[in-house]
């Protein structure tokens, strides 16, 4: 069995850590990670709970392939009810923390209640204890990790922590592990902060933490999988060399790069902030922004970006702590910090991204919220006096200043930290918030890519590209090419993507493997690791079950089909330029068909037959 079969339950109010056996029937029905933790959350939590109240629970969870030899088998997730959306929140991270948790002998850690004072959880193999974190409160993620490692005299302790953003209630605060890998979206860090939990530190040395069902078959299956990744042009060459950032120019040429709060769909500065630009030597110091690529535990792709800034850039000139190499911008961050605001200074984007890592907040939601603030400023609704400085579109200084203020919870950064939905509503322009269910869009325009628009509208955690990545068929031709403006077949394709993604997110593997792997490559690895019959059909049924379980949670939380929508700008304001010129979202055509292929009523509720079939 690739599960450790152990659950650590931490009651923060009572200060207790107890062990309980993993519910193996649920493991059979929901696999692990995203699916399994969501099952626990649904079973134990009132869907109407205030996300930032002690009654909300938060679960750190691994998958059966986490900490194994499977390529990319290092993922873990944080599952809770999200404060940004009021919907289910599941945020996935790489790095080395997840594997370490598995090596310590735990499938998941369930946090309940809230601590009366700041604490951190220390796990050394089978021992767990809550320790005073008053000396860590107010520290950044980077400081916290260093202090904990020094304090316990062990550089191999892995730390997942919140920065000041999580402490200050930034609604899109994330949890950062290994300095720059993050469970970044949906505000899981704000939930952690509300519980007065600063960090989870773990050291795992057990060699008997889990047992593979069939080690010989597992080695063969994972070896075969690695060969597929190495031979594939995307996972073997494209992603390692250029990272996700290579998409910047692709999406811009396609006319689907949201720019200046989605006013435009092409950005004149795209070339300056894309993956290629990170390789080019700067005229200022003759060095490239990109130092090298980086890999998470067990990963043979290594898409991560490690960057070093120009030390003379205005943002870091007198701040040597930012002169070293650290996590560079990925595509989503570069888009949100750049194109979404009209900012084309790669060094400034890198600095803001460093701040997001250092103090733990989501660069997508932050950058998109700055874009909304810039539009409010452009319209004269927000003024220099209210913000504290001028904030026109394209203001590098303004974006940088807001990143600093949001990280520290000061000035206008407090308003930016609440996200664009609340910002735009406060200033009387709710229609200018580029969000679904309160979460900001990532880097693809739902007018330019019709399937992505549907994916955003129906994502269970609010606007998200990682729940059904329709960019693959609509842009990359993986597994088949679909025209960006077509609607035919998109609802069924999206359902298949969503269900498969739920399986991958529940396995311990990284979603990026699916640029090369199909379910036929993944299934043998799960089959060899986990006892029982894990056919492709059964795995897809599990994926569909997870999707519907998340949907049921959201419905019980009070969301309805009216929340499966897009902002009026995407429905009514045509794309102004490029090959998608004139396009608006055709969500009204696709959504009814999507409900139908999902086996839901016209109101978006799973029918009794669907519930029975899935056992939800």
């Amino acid at each position: 069995m690739a599960w450790t079969k152990n659950v650590l339950r931490v009651n923060l109010e009572a200060g207790t850590c107890t062990t309980e056996p993993l519910n193996m029937q649920w493991a059979q029905d929901y696999l692990g990670q995203r699916g399994l933790a969501t099952k626990y959350l649904v079973a134990e939590t009132d869907p109407k709970v205030d996300p930032l109240s002690p009654k909300n629970k938060m679960i750190f969870v691994t998958g059966p392939l986490t900490g194994t030899m499977a390529a990319t088998g290092g993922r873990y997730s944080v599952v809770t009810k999200g404060p940004l959306t009021g919907a289910i929140a599941c945020s996935n991270s790489g790095g080395y923390f997840g594997a370490e948790l598995k090596f310590a002998g735990w499938d998941m850690v369930i946090f309940e209640g809230a601590s009366p004072k700041p604490v951190y959880l220390l796990i050394i193999d089978g021992q767990a204890e809550l320790l005073d974190a008053s000396h860590l409160w107010g520290k950044t993620v980077w400081e916290t990790e260093e202090i904990i490692k020094k304090l316990h005299q062990d550089p191999q302790i892995r730390v997942a922590s919140i920065g000041r953003a999580g402490e200050n209630g930034v609604l899109y605060a994330g949890i950062v592990n290994d300095l720059h890998r993050a469970a970044g979206r949906s505000g899981v860090g704000a939930v952690m902060g509300s519980k007065n939990l600063k960090a989870v530190a773990v050291r795992g040395t057990r060699t008997d933490a889990y047992k593979l069902a069939n080690p010989e078959a597992f080695f063969a299956a994972t070896e075969a999988g690695k060969k597929v990744l190495a031979a594939n042009g995307v996972t073997g060459q494209g992603l390692p060399t250029y990272g996700t950032q290579v998409l910047m120019n692709v999406i811009n040429e396609l006319g689907a790069l949201p720019t200046r709060n989605h006013r435009d769909v092409q950005f004149e500065g795209a070339m300056a902030i894309g993956g290629e630009a990170m390789h080019e030597k700067r005229p200022t110091d003759g060095k490239a922004n990109l130092v090298t690529n980086g890999a998470c535990f067990g990963c043979t792709i290594a898409c991560g970006r490690i960057s070093r800034m120009d030390p003379n850039h205005f943002s870091v000139k007198d701040k040597p702590q930012y002169h070293g190499a650290s996590g560079g911008v990925e595509y989503e961050a570069a888009w949100a910090l750049g194109a979404a605001n009209g900012v084309s200074d790669l060094e400034a984007l890198t600095y803001a991204n460093f701040l997001c890592n250092e103090d733990g907040f989501d660069p997508i939601s932050f950058g998109a919220t700055v874009g909304a603030a810039m539009e409010l400023y452009d319209l004269g609704i927000l003024t220099k006096e209210q913000i504290g400085f001028e904030l026109p579109f394209g203001s590098t200084e303004g974006m940088v200043k807001l990143a600093e203020l949001t990280a520290k919870g000061e000035g206008f950064g407090k308003e930016i930290g609440l996200g664009s939905k609340r910002l735009c509503a406060k200033y009387g322009k709710p229609e200018l918030s580029m969000t679904v269910k309160g979460q900001e869009f990532p880097a693809y325009d739902g007018r330019g890519l019709q399937g992505m628009g549907l994916a955003y509208a129906t994502s269970n955690r609010g606007a998200c590209h990682l729940r059904g990545y329709m960019v693959s068929p609509e842009v990359l031709g993986i597994p088949v090419k679909m025209e960006p403006q077509a609607t035919e077949g998109k609802p069924a394709m999206l359902k298949a993507f969503q269900d498969l993604t739920a399986v991958v997110d529940s396995s311990g593997l990284c979603l990026f493997t699916t640029f090369a792997w199909g379910l036929a490559d993944i299934q043998p690895q799960i089959q060899a690791a986990c006892e029982g019959d894990w056919s492709e059909d059964r795995l897809l049924l599990i994926g569909e079950r997870i999707w519907n379980m998340e949907r049921e949670f959201n419905l019980a939380a009070g969301l309805t089909c009216k929340d499966d929508n897009l902002p009026p700008r995407l429905m009514k304001e045509p794309a102004k330029t490029g090959p998608q010129k004139g396009a608006v979202s055709k969500l009204d055509i696709m959504l009814p068909e999507y409900y139908q292929v999902r086996g839901w009523t016209t109101e978006g509720v799973p029918t009794p037959e669907t519930r029975t079939r899935l056992g939800v």
């Binding site: 040429e253 070339m271 990682l466």
Partner: protein
Amino acid sequence: MRISLKLFASLAVHLPAELRSRHQQELEVAPGLTVLEVIQGQGIPPGQCAIVLVDGVWVAPLERATRMLAEGEVLAIWPPVAGG
């Protein structure tokens, strides 16, 4: 006639050195030239051309030998890449 050729990521090496950072070259080509003929004429391995767009519109592999370019069109090409 004039067209613009944009080569990104590892394909930029097929541009003159002084143009690589701009990723773009203006070409004077014979009318009626196809996408595939431009690719071959520039010494770009056709098998490396994963994403091929003309004015932002996808040109499928089987269409590249017949899709003729017109004055002022922009041909943009990437090797196998992806993101998220």
